[in-house]
Symmetry: C2
Subunit: 458 residues, 2 copies
């Protein structure tokens, strides 16, 4: 990525002019422009910006080198900026900081911010508690609509969202009711806020709810934010819809990379250091290779048969890859259905009952194509499969039915097994399934050959 | 899915009691409960509900059999419900309706609704115009904050969102400025609305912007809705954040299924009719099978070599699968980076420059493991690879370097080629790449063998 030329021009010029230009830009766009600079230069630009704009830019997850930029800033300038950032972004920044820097910056914060931060840092970023923010609008149920609106006008600037107002019982500190700003604006001004809006129970999530499930709740109920509640119903914070979108996109990137048969990268492809990327690929690739070695063992077991009927070897790649492909289809379907919570562990047998007939039918289709191909090439004289070519064609066709059926079953059951063992089902990658099916496929193929070709070729 | 027992109980009882219970539930939950019923029964329940609740339930994309339920309702009752639904959901319903029903229902709507609908139906659901809604709050720039708030209080109930207020120039009909309800509530009541908030240019999308790009804009600028503008800057509608989440999730499901080597399903896995699912899998599976047939041709080409040195056949699955696995890793990385717009077409050579060294290093790692495995089994006497076992091990190792390098390159370039040709890069599935690499892998392997083993085994 390169810096827009006008920005580079401005950087060389008058800081006041620079600040003027940047302040008419969106925070996310300023962050992207700064991504093109080295952290030292970005730190200088940010120090020259008006305080409010600097805070807005630091609040953008789009700012890639946030940690490095902070480390290069004067702590006296960095402290107030951190104080002014939103709580969830503060927590993300602190997670990225090296231990030493973290302690240093923590000391420069006031005790309220410090307490809030330590609450958020208690949870990993994969759950609600780790992406929530503590800056929401909470009011007691007996306040009037007018008083609530005045309160929002007064404190609203410091809150992550003012579109959901949380009505909290003063005695028990429990969440009673959620009123939207829309309902509030439409309501009579002297009504108690506890009586505004509909009577539905507020929707909430637990601090340890997986962020994918938080996304599902927000999406299902079309919320702009969802409250995070402790087991007693006390409010800990809120997760807003924009944080949830980032979480969905990140999870999906991880899933696609795992499906491709590797560990998920932490950075974008072009920015990941070459050797860190190779390391994340080499692990799975070597593991799959070790598994795939069993094919050499299996083939060795049938070496005598191969040397008697070399024609059998010709169809080995065709047959085992068909099993792998049908397995890859099944595993992708199941992994996605699991991610969308359409399937649960206990549904495994219903899936098996669907995959069994699917596999048989798909295997029959490929078997017919395979039989036709061998017979056709033989008839046209393009290839000579020997005097027993019909039996060879039958062997290939029958093996295909077996291998594709096994592939569909194995591919669909693997995600269930992985989840049952506590692993991410998305690790049941296409390469993983293919490796599993390759070994079994060879055994199926040669066993079928032994039955059909006994007394003729074998 | 089964209906909650209390609902089944209520359905048998008093309609008033049923309506009472349902009206304290969230629309999405009522929709999910109704999903457990047959369309006839669901239509009866919905007809018994208070009008407002019925509209809310029909507005939920969670209601699965919406079209079937509508077809079973009295048109006199269905018409007003459709009128009251939000415009984007109306459009979705109409897209699903059979032609005949569509004309019938269209006649029962008033002319304003009909006009709006025909605007939305002009666009497919994959672009901004197809998921936008025309129900937003628009005001002229000279209205005061107070007047705008009063206007919102008056019309807000019928708008999809009131959290973004669009300031539109009366003369040119162009979007000038966007004010959030938050800014409005915090602003002085006598200020003209055109002067509220910051000076940034409003962010907008075109009606034919891909829905994935709309999601990216909303996520980048943390918006609750993005305006859809025609080339002249006139406002056509807005896309809200909740519709965008649904769109992201749908796109991801399609991508995962394509990555698995099949056409994307239209329904959830367990609900897709068995034969429609088999059809979507059979197409790609057969195409891949036809491609994979080239391996039999390639193997046939080397049949003489195999019969002279059967030991070579033993490592065929091991070698070609390693190429497929490295290709699958590369292709997943690139497809995801393209989906996130981290990579563009013109970046192909930068990717190739990364994949070339990655492939060589990964190939060397597997080559060393493979060499060790063959030598070890030979030394331990677990398998006898003949007098030239060192040369065989060298052949396997050298072929692995070549095949894995080719796999990484082919897997990373395929998505670029597909996009260049106008296809979805996600069609470059792991099975597709594996098939491509299998044929080439065989040729690389036997060519290396011809060089290394000439004069000894071959």
């Amino acid at each position: 990525m390169t810096a827009p030329p006008e920005l580079l021009y401005l950087l060389a010029g008058d800081p006041a002019e620079l600040a003027e230009t940047l302040s008419s830009m969106h925070g996310a766009d300023v962050a992207e422009a700064l991504n093109a600079l080295r952290p030292e230069a970005a730190a200088r630009v940010l120090a020259a910006l008006p305080f409010d704009l600097a805070v807005r830019v630091f609040d953008e997850p789009e700012l890639e080198d946030r940690t490095e930029i902070f480390e290069r800033m004067d702590p006296a300038a960095a402290g107030p900026i951190i104080e002014a950032m939103s709580a969830d972004q503060q927590a993300e920044l602190f997670r990225e900081l090296p231990e030493r820097e973290r302690a240093r910056l923590l000391r420069s914060l006031d005790s309220g911010t410090r307490e809030e931060l330590s609450l958020l840092l208690r949870y990993p970023v994969t759950v609600a508690g780790g992406i929530m923010t503590t800056e929401y609008v909470a009011v007691p149920p007996d306040w009037t609509v007018q008083r609530t609106l005045d309160y929002i006008a007064q404190v609203g600037g410091a809150k992550e969202t003012v579109y959901a107002i949380y009505v909290i019982d003063a005695a028990t500190q429990r969440l009673q009711h959620v009123v939207s700003l829309r309902e509030l604006v439409l309501a009579r001004r002297n009504l108690p806020v506890g009586e505004v809006g509909d009577r539905q129970m507020p929707v909430g999530v637990a601090p340890d709810t997986d962020r994918e499930d938080v996304a599902r709740v927000i999406s299902k109920y079309n919320l702009l934010a969802v409250p995070v509640l402790d087991p007693a119903g006390k409010m800990l914070g809120i997760v807003t819809v924009d944080d949830v979108i980032d979480a969905i996109v990140e999870e999906q990137t991880e899933d696609v990379q795992k499906l491709g048969g590797m560990e998920a990268l932490e950075e974008p492809y072009m920015e990941a250091p070459l050797f860190s990327m190779i390391r994340r690929r080499a692990g799975w690739l070597s593991a799959l290779f070790l598994g795939e070695m069993l094919t050499a063992t299996a083939m060795g077991f049938f070496e005598a048969e191969i040397s008697r009927a070399v024609v059998l070897a010709l169809f080995v790649p065709l047959i085992i890859s068909s099993g792998g492909n049908s397995g890859s289809q099944a595993t992708s379907l199941i992994i996605r259905a699991m991610a969308l919570r359409e399937l649960r562990l206990k549904d495994w047998w219903r899936v098996a009952l669907r995959e069994l007939p699917s596999g048989v039918i798909l295997g029959l289709i490929l078997g017919i194509i395979g039989f036709t191909r061998i017979s056709l090439w033989q008839t046209l004289g393009w290839q000579d499969y020997g005097p027993h070519h019909v039996l060879v064609a039958c062997t290939v066709a029958a093996a295909l039915v077996g291998v594709v059926t096994f592939g569909s079953l194995a591919g669909s059951m693997l995600p269930f097994i992985l989840r049952r063992l506590g692993f991410d089902p998305a690790s049941a990658s296409a390469p993983f399934v293919a490796t599993l099916v390759d070994v079994t496929g060879l055994i199926i193929y040669f066993s079928v050959a032994l039955v059909i070709l006994r007394g003729t070729l074998l």
